[in-house]
């Protein structure tokens, strides 16, 4: 069902944990839907120097969190904002269609953590260009 890459990131998740005094935190999802992701970012000079996560969810949710945190590390906030759910899914060598919402959740988690940082800094939060909220995707939980 899952690619080798998904299984690798599920069984050996990168960046599990929390960052003390994180500069940006984003929590997305809903326990009723069966997945919650919490993303922690350390930001220096507009660059993400560290990223960690905690996730409640299926294999794809854990692998997506792991991959998303890997992808944004070392990137500027502008670059990290551009990391799409498709990029996460592609880096994982694909996700089953019904699990694509896990990659959406990872993108949303990163965005939320970035905006958390921006708001704390007194900056305007960035607007989602392609808001794929959970409800729009009919494969996802309606709760």
């Amino acid at each position: 069902m899952y690619s080798d890459k998904v299984m690798d990131h599920f069984k050996n998740p990168r960046n599990v944990g929390e960052i003390e005094n994180a500069d940006g935190i984003g929590e997305v999802g809903n326990p009723v839907c069966g997945d919650i992701m919490k993303i922690f970012l350390k930001i220096d000079n507009n660059v993400i120097t560290d990223a960690k996560f905690k996730t409640f969810g299926c294999g794809a949710a854990i692998a997506s969190s792991s991959m998303a945190t890997e992808l944004v590390k070392g990137k500027t906030l502008e670059e990290a904002w551009e990391v799409s759910n498709k990029a996460v899914a592609e880096a994982l060598e694909g996700l089953p269609p019904i699990k694509m919402h896990c990659s959406v959740l990872a993108e949303e988690g990163i965005h939320k953590a970035i905006n958390d940082y921006r708001v704390k800094k007194g900056l305007e939060p960035w607007i989602e260009k392609n808001p794929h909220s959970h409800e729009q995707d009919d494969m996802t939980c309606q709760h």
Partner: protein, 399 residues
């Protein structure tokens, strides 16, 4: 890592075929392959074999052999029982009573009939998954033509009060069907004294082959055919007989019903050790289903703060085969309708695990699972944001 062993704890999903069953099946593939409908003498052998299996099957249920009809399995039997009775009796009424916790073979058949103008009552269950006989009696109207209630639930293992429910059906002269797919070999069944009019069974749940089952139809029940065609099964179920499968079913049901108390004692000993061990070793775990009125091999448990699919993946990594009621494996993103019907909160239903024990297991298997499972749960909880919260904020609120 050394050589990995497989620990099969998913007997409610399917079972292996016992060597004694396979052995009696093989000649019917190769040597005695004659079509029982044919006139020449090698075909007579096939006919005799089917009749002998029919006697074995009937004996396992307390039925007469001519009340047994072979099908392709549990789903076909359920479809036939419900659609067949609905269509043959629609002049008498259009109301069917079932429960919220049936297998999809029953639920989806009922939903199909709703589109065809039938009215269906889905009885609720209590927190243990039990149907209240008083609820059944209240639901019966003068339009009720069929009651279909499963003997034992496939997910949580709860055993329904079938004798009592059958008596109520008989009192009101309503046909009573039970999906006994999980019950055969685990509970002694006597269709006559239990007032069962129709009963579905499937061979692969009791160490027989897949693709073969039966529907018991009490003499005199008005039922339409589901599969139309040739005159097999006394003109009631068309299609060339799956002779080897039928012979296997007969052998399997004979073995499965030979010593039910003895068999159950052995399985239950392992299962109880597993339940006790898991609930002792893992905090924030709760047993789903009834503490006593449950299938001997069934253990269904919910672990808070984690999700079932990720648990199964880790267990599979250790060679342990199990299943979950979490949405994430169902393909539907809705968690188990059975767990929800018992009132389990959705978020906790996601963290459910079913281990169903049977003849493939040993006490060593149980101890291995007791060693592995707490580590898996801990690993997943350590990365769960809900678990971290639970200390200070209560996390997923149970009850």
């Amino acid at each position: 890592m050394g050589e990995q062993r497989t620990i099969y704890m998913d007997h409610s999903a399917t079972t292996f075929v016992k060597p004694e069953v396979l052995e009696v099946m093989i000649p019917w593939f190769t040597k005695h392959f004659g079509n029982p409908s044919s006139i020449y003498s090698i075909a007579h052998e096939s006919k005799k074999a089917i009749d002998a299996a029919r006697v074995q099957t009937a004996k396992g249920l307390g039925a007469d052999p001519d009340e047994i009809y072979y099908t392709s399995g549990g789903s076909e039997s359920d479809n036939w029982a419900i659609k067949g009775v609905a269509l043959a009796n629609r002049k008498r009424g259009n109301h069917i009573i079932t429960t919220q916790i049936e297998h999809h073979a029953v639920l989806h058949t009922c939903q199909f009939l709703e589109k065809e103008g039938f009215e269906i009552t889905y009885l609720p269950v209590d927190r243990y998954g039990l149907v209240n006989p008083a609820d059944l009696e209240k639901a019966i109207t003068d339009k009720t033509i069929l009651i279909s209630i499963m003997y034992a639930n496939n997910e949580i293992g709860t055993i329904e009060p079938i004798t009592e429910l059958g008596a109520i059906a008989r009192k009101h002269k309503v046909y009573f069907h039970t999906d006994a797919v999980q019950a055969i070999g685990n509970i002694p069944i006597d269709v006559k004294s239990q007032n069962i009019d129709l009963l579905s069974l499937s061979a692969h749940k009791f160490y027989g082959p897949k693709g073969v089952g039966a529907l018991y139809i009490r003499k005199g029940v008005r039922i339409e055919n589901l599969i139309h065609g040739g005159g097999q099964e006394r003109r009631r179920r068309a299609g060339t007989e799956n002779i080897a499968g039928i012979v296997g079913l007969g052998q399997a049901i004979e073995m499965a019903t030979m010593d039910i108390p003895g068999h159950n004692a052995k399985i239950q000993l392992m299962r109880d050790r597993l339940i006790k061990g898991v609930l002792e070793k893992i905090p924030n775990a709760r047993l789903n289903g009834h503490p006593e009125k449950r299938l001997p091999g069934n253990f269904n448990v919910s672990f808070e703060f984690i999700e079932g699919e990720s648990m199964l993946l880790w267990l599979d990594d250790e060679g342990i085969c199990a299943s979950t009621g979490s949405a994430c494996t169902s393909g539907s993103l809705e968690p188990s309708h059975v767990l929800l019907a018992t009132g389990l909160p959705v978020e906790i239903s996601h963290g459910s695990l079913r281990l169903s024990l049977g003849d493939a297991n040993t006490i060593e298997d149980v101890d291995f699972v007791l060693d592995v499972l707490p580590k898996v749960v801990k690993k997943l909880r350590d990365m769960s944001p809900l678990y971290q919260k639970s200390g200070k904020e209560g996390g997923c609120n149970v009850q």
